[in-house]
Amino acid sequence: MPALRTSTPSRAKHPASAAAPRPGGYAGKLLRVNLTTGKIWSEPWSPEDMRELIGGVGLGARILYREVPAHVHWDHPENRLVLATGPLAGLPVWGTGGLTVVTRGAGTDGPTSTQANGFFGANLKYSGYDAIIVQGVSRKWVYLHIHDDVVELRDASHLLGKDTWQTQDLLSAEYGLSGHQLSVYSIGPAGEHLVRFAAIQGDYGHVASKNGCGAVMGKKKLKAVAIVRGTHGLAAADPRGLVQAADDIAHDLQTDPTARSLYEYGTLPGVVNLHKLGMLPIKNYTTNVSPVDLGPWEARRLREGFDHRGHQCNACGMHHCHMQVIRSGPHTGTLVDEPEYEGWSGAGWTIGATDPQAVSWLNTELDRAGLDVNEFGWLCGWVMECVEKGYITRAQLGFDLRWGDVEGARKLVDLIVHRRGLGAVLAEGVKRAAAKLGPPARDCAVYTLKGAVPRGHDHRARWHEMLDTITSGTSTLETGNPVHPTEVGVPARVDPFDGVAVAKMVAGLRGRLGFEDSLGICIFTTRTRLENLCRALGAATGWYYTVDEAIRFGRRTGAILRACSLRCGITPATEYPSTRYASIPVDGPAKGQSIVEQWEKMLDTWYAEVGYDRKTGKPLPATCKALGAEWLAKELWGRSR
């Protein structure tokens, strides 16, 4: 395969190491790729920047803020696609293959931060790079090849139309490499056709799924990034301390009651547990009561109901990611990725499908096509409801699509990823499709006014996530679920239907996730005390972050993303749920609870607590200052303030 343009990053460009030595854990270089010109180069980043930005979303947010101005929309050549790891990636802490994708996404045309794992981050670090920053648009379809110092753009015409698993299979065969010797993150047909909720999928089942990052990659005509497991070493400031911190985190994950089920079964227990709380979204928010016995949906049975095999990410001991083989039905024998809770929800409950074998198959079909399973779920569930109610006709669709029809849902995938027929409308995502169809169909759709959708939960019983999703600078969870909340002074329990208490909790927990997503580590292996993560980071790099600093770092990153978001025209006026998203559950444990009545109060509280201006949405100068970002205050408010 001839390279369109070959350029080997030159070591000579790096300044002599007269400055501070490179902190441990870092590869030390950022890889830059300009697809328009074909130029590839690497640039060092300073120990000071490393300390301030850490990596992952911290690094990505800074690049987005500095390099993607207002007029650079998601599909503009100058949009950046940042694929960033962090200082823990490639080290022996569990779950450290981490990748954070930061870009201006196609879903909201605003900032995106979305994570995936596997081995990409580790392979990239061993190749000598902490992050890849892609800009420009290629003339022809290409993929990025990285093998230590050899970095090339290669012709991808033979990969076009291939799904993400096929793409990795083909490249593995082409390279003559197997298993984790080659990590490939790619877009499927969805990304190629600029579906607004196209994802980037890698290493068979790991998906950076949010906000249409796959469409950005597709717009750039970058089909895939393939990284050969590099040969460089990563040093740690205190390797023994690092191994000890890793072991402590592992011990904590295995034994702490709040993490243990995750250790044993990943997110599988979610289905049954969330159902008990009214948080399992069934049939597009039309009910919260399962029509079937949930026995087969117990975590143990979900796992053992399949021929399954561990399929862990870099250095991870969680019994979380698995591969499984479909045991019954038309796809018997097919090897698939064990769905996360999000998959069981999006490819299952949301669309009324209750056969785990069928749901598991559809979930991987979505990964392969390169679609976000959450948004697909909301979209497909909505279409099914519309078909049931006669808002969408069989003629419009070309086939019948009833609740729970997984094979029909697969047909819908084809319509969407190829933008055929009604698929052209649906490919624009839930919000745009709902607007296009108008009421009454519109009012059945679950979305945020920013143009995003929730994860796979029923937020009408999970108010903190609705508030988080809607106020986030990245249009999806920015704070996440509480993990050891008391460590940062947040009460362990609040009344889930007390809007003010929930808003205080969401504001109080802010920062942790931004810190975690900068480390190059999986969200599930960070479910330990923040103090342990600080220890691991310290042992790797030699800096001793305190818990307060970590939180401050995460909040600073959030403030920068908020500034990016505002610049993209996403204002507080869009911080509302759709009619259905905020409707009142008609049954189940949260029956009758109404978040709408409390919404304004929740926003007021949240804004006051986080220190953002309620009217403009901007982080207040005092907030910026407290977060160590006075420069941001100046840029947002001008020097006079």
């Binding site: 061993y126 990563l234 862990q312």
Partner: protein, 155 residues
């Protein structure tokens, strides 16, 4: 003698053993220099670690033209760096693919059981690698044979 017993059904392919091994061997986290290596079977799933069995013949040891490979107190064949010249003969003599060569140091290197406390066994989160008083064996052949059937059938 205690040997590295491999239980492939337990392996999830996380490669933590490679990291631990490389750290013991080089002081850095550099899996390219690990002497235990995890391979996939059944396409991109079903992994198993693979390393030196400390075989009775010691093809590496008998092949070495300068006597640089010896047997340690732990019973492992080990390369003496001050004697090894880096001729690579051991890498073609070993029929298992478990002799390695470091182009940076220009020495051969291999599993030396970490002097009797193997780091890979400590690092393995699933006990797929254990250090036990058992006869060495082809630990993963049957597993690979069974799992590979799917890859072959798929062709």
């Amino acid at each position: 003698m205690r040997v590295l017993k491999l239980t492939p059904d337990k392996c999830t392919g996380c490669l933590r053993c490679e990291l631990a091994c490389a750290y013991m061997q080089t002081g850095e986290f550099q899996p390219a220099k690990s002497v235990i290596r995890v391979s996939p079977f059944e396409g991109h799933t079903s992994y198993a670690p693979y390393t030196c069995t400390q075989c009775a013949e010691g093809w590496c040891m008998t092949a070495c033209p300068v006597g640089a490979i010896t047997i340690t107190a732990a019973g492992a064949k080990d390369v003496l760096d001050d004697k090894c010249v880096g001729c690579k003969l051991c890498t073609i003599a070993c029929p298992y693919g478990t002799m390695f060569y470091d182009p940076d140091t220009r020495k051969a290197f291999k599993c030396n059981l970490c002097g009797g406390a193997p780091a890979c066994a400590d690092a393995c989160p699933t006990a797929a690698i254990t250090y036990e008083e058992v006869a060495t064996a082809d630990w993963i052949g049957d597993f690979a044979h069974e799992r590979a059937a799917r890859v072959l059938a798929a062709r």
